[in-house]
Amino acid sequence: MPRRSIVIIMFLTLSALLTADSHAFTLHGFVEGAYGTRFDDDLTKKDHYTLGEGRFQVKGSYSPSFLDKWYGEFTFKGDAYYDGYEETTYGDARTAVLSITPHDMIDLKIGRQVLTWGTGDLIFINDLFPKDYISFFIGRDDEYLKLPSDAIKGSLFFDIFNVDLVIIPDFEPNNNIKGDRLSYFHGLEDRIVGDDVENDYKEPENKSKNMEAALRLYKNIKGMEAAIYLFDGFYKDPLGVLKATPTYRFYYPELTVYGFSLRDAVFGGIGNIEAGYYYSREDKDGDNPMVENSYFKALAGYSKDMGGDFKVGIQYQLEKMLDYDDYETNFPGGSGKADEHRHLWTLRLAKLAMNQNLTLSLFSFYSPSDKDYHLRPQVSYKFTDNLSSTIGGNIFEGEDDHTFFGQLDRNDNAYIRLRYSF
């Protein structure tokens, strides 16, 4: 694991810099234990649980005086954890980045960093940065939904608009559901599988031609936030089939996305709309059943503060498969055929109580077209400024095996986390 060596190198660098110069330094972190149990026996590696780990996170930032002129800052965040499910110890550098402002109008962030943009709440249209859906579905902190990228982010600030350009030289995929921990629908097997099916995933080669780029032009017009997005790279999920025998081999096809978003205060709350056109470059006409078709995706959201520390947010998303006729004609068979339109609703309810030390929340996904849903109830309590606990669940239900949440039907789980922050 190269990540482990990054952690060690960053630690050493930081401590070396620290001893040389103690100018502007911060250090925080936490120790956490987490356990998650599953409700159904499954085909996964371990039947009775989904999550069991001890985690240590340390994060710090450091502004050496020799970078004062450029307002330079090193930021670091690393996780070391023993994953009982995998029976392995991991070291992950989540952030190891240098931020500088070489000019009044320019910011640069170079290194490993978590990147987020777009307006959706747990729905991502123009945010094509890598995500970890396994962490998301087994009850790790929401922070772990986002995976870091090794990237260079350049930002330009003009009077008329601002520009963010992110270059990702080495492809980083989503941590997609693979069957060892969460069972899922395997289109080629045409059934729900666990770790009984062997898959192989081929990432794009690390060469300059395969560099990914994400661009955002944005502007805040008296409170209305407008943005235009462009992404050029690869699907973050393995949505292409390379070969089906003797083992399944998937890959990450080329993808271009054009999109926009708007967000502003409306009707006493916050409203947002966002849309994106997913252009599947390896299946331009939609007639290749081995590669995902192009899509049009759009969402509209509204959130409101109901008073008494109670907030409500609602979203609707439409996903329309393009060239659906060609898809239908060339569909190889099986039960996993997608609909042309997928409609998805989400509802977030969040309430703070007991001097804001208790948080009750429920996030729900519901798709009337897929006839499936996913519920995420969560209760967390801060015993002190340092000690907190979170209890929650992930519930999946669906009429069909092949829909996004329906396939996860047997992965219902409940989890508890106990965290000490410092």
Binding site: T26, G223, E225, D305, G307, N355, S421
Partner: protein
């Protein structure tokens, strides 16, 4: 002769007549003195929250403020240092003269700029007794103000003003009484009464200082008499007229805190 008498009387009466301030003027002046001192400012606030059972919480934030117009629009940038789980989080407010304020929250762990719905300004700021309105100011036009009397409190001459909300449905109090220092126009004390006319919340300024020529409250305590919750705020490193640029209060500096936070 009669005319001369009238004129003399006018001369004698004029000063008190001309210079007596109305309740509206006092509140307006107090609002400027407390929330709009100088053109901009910076302070680090140490907040101690203690509940009825004596359990303590601590928050430390640095606040940058810039006035667009005195008594009108202004921007706030709030950077969290403590507790650890919210360290480096940023909260930003564009305070508006009419309609809801604009608020954003930046969560560094996931690099997320979140827009927050803000209809309820009476909700607690960071879990303490102080509300969002206490921190960034309640619009003076939201209440009708009546000067009740003038009296000495905590060794200071003060105006005592009753403030009644114009829209009683959106606030939890039925009215509040403010004691305002006649010389500095800083608030000395506030008493909040609930719908059954019972005192349930007090705010008291415990320490003031003159910083860069501006009288400044540097320590205050809020108490919720119903829940027993207490919150003390101390302001340190207070500075005025830093020459903050307006662009600090934009998304760029949510994602990358400005130099002024560190200095």
């Amino acid at each position: 002769m009669k005319r001369i008498l009238t004129f003399t009387l006018l001369l004698i009466l004029a000063p008190s007549f001309l210079f007596a301030m109305t309740a509206d003027e006092i509140i307006e002046k107090s609002n400027i003195a407390y929330y709009y001192a100088a053109d901009d400012g910076k302070a680090t606030a140490k907040m101690y929250i203690k509940d009825a059972r004596g359990r303590e919480r601590y928050r430390e934030i640095t606040i940058l403020r810039k006035d667009i117009k005195d008594g009108g629009r202004q921007n706030y940038y709030v950077y969290f240092h403590e507790p650890a789980d919210v360290s480096k989080m940023v909260f930003m407010v564009w305070k508006q003269v009419s309609g809801d304020d604009d608020r954003w929250l930046y969560m560094p762990a996931i690099d997320l700029v979140k827009r927050i719905a803000t209809s309820d300004k009476r909700s607690s700021f960071a879990g303490g007794v102080f509300t969002y309105e206490d921190v960034s100011g309640r619009r003076t036009i939201d209440d009708t103000h009546t000067l009740l009397r003038e009296e000495k409190i905590n060794g200071k001459e003060a105006y005592v003003i009753k403030n009644v909300p114009k829209d009683a449905d959106v606030v939890e109090f039925s009215y509040y009484i403010s004691w305002i220092d006649k010389s500095t126009f800083l608030p000395i004390k506030g008493e909040y009464y609930n719908k059954s006319d019972k005192l349930y919340r007090t705010i008291e300024v415990e320490k003031t200082a003159v910083i860069d020529g501006y009288p400044t409250s540097i320590k205050g305590t809020g108490k919720n008499l119903e829940t027993g919750l207490e919150t003390t705020i101390e302001f340190v490193d207070v500075k005025y007229n830093l020459g903050l640029k307006e662009n600090i209060f934009e998304e760029r500096f949510l994602r990358r805190p400005p130099r002024e936070i560190r200095k």
